[in-house]
């Protein structure tokens, strides 16, 4: 927890349900609009969080998505207990994907998510341990 006047939201991300993936990002977008933040930052947060949330479902077993809105920044933390990422540098490369054919048929698995999260956020931190899980933190300056 940082300042006392920061806003916190927390969402459970169901790793078994592809259809509900993105609900946390959708709700966050709605709430950020209600806060009256500018459209550009809302769009960047929504895209980056959605990519991360989809990853939690298609590559891991779901987890928790936390959103913290401070005076000067938004912090998105996505924590899963999935298989983890062995080589983060490789995972960050455009086009690298371990997604199955099944996932591709659903419209994902181009290996563009992590690079897009980096592009849209001001800071992207990936903490991962094979067999334990992954924690993705994204910071957006307001």
């Amino acid at each position: 927890m940082s300042q006392s006047n920061s806003i916190l939201w927390s969402f459970d991300v169901d790793g078994k349900n592809f259809d509900s993936a993105g609900f946390a990002s959708q709700s966050t977008k709605f709430k950020l609009r209600q806060l009256g933040l500018n459209g550009d930052i809302i769009k960047r947060v929504a895209i980056a969080m959605y990519e991360g949330e989809i990853n939690m479902v298609i590559h891991a077993e779901g987890g928790v998505a936390n959103v913290e809105v401070d005076e000067d920044k938004i912090i998105i933390t996505l924590t899963d207990t999935g298989k983890g990422i062995a080589d983060i540098e490789q995972a960050m490369r455009e086009g690298f994907s371990t997604a199955t054919e099944e996932i591709r048929d659903l419209g994902f698995g181009a290996g563009m998510g992590l690079p897009n999260m980096k592009k849209n956020s001001d800071e992207l931190i990936i903490d991962s341990a094979v067999g334990k899980g992954t924690k993705v933190t994204m910071i957006f300056a307001i």
């Binding site: 977008k29 459209g39 959605y50 419209g107 181009a110």
Partner: protein, 117 residues
């Protein structure tokens, strides 16, 4: 052009969002990979796609899109339609295949965003 013009050009059925047909659409994109829509699209307010799962609507929502046209007569289920209604996204279903649907709109003046960087 307006979404109403798109409906006419695509010979489309309006699945939902009848009340927004007079809204202006300035450009569009056609894609079946939501990953690519999220990574490459900039400000196109309309998506043509052959996929009908809920992530198509969520992708459109994250990208601030106003209209999704399904090609090849595809139609999403009620849940997906409900999601689109909730977010005021117009859904259309066109009998054209992807290439033809894009071509019809493009030659009528609805362009994309050109080459990527």
């Amino acid at each position: 052009m307006t979404i109403r013009d798109v409906v006419e050009l695509l010979k489309a059925e309006v699945i939902c969002g009848e009340e927004f047909l007079d809204n202006e659409i300035k450009s569009a994109c056609g894609c079946d990979m939501m990953s690519d829509v999220l990574a490459f699209v900039k400000t196109q307010p309309m998506l043509l796609t052959g996929l009908v799962n809920p992530q198509v609507i969520r992708t459109a929502l994250m990208m601030d899109m106003k209209c999704v046209a399904f090609v090849r007569n595809k139609k999403p289920d009620e849940k997906v339609i409900g999601l689109a209604k909730e977010h005021e996204i117009v859904l259309l279903s066109s009998p054209y295949r992807m290439y033809d649907a894009c071509g019809v709109l493009y030659t009528s003046g609805l362009r994309g965003e050109g080459a990527c960087e």
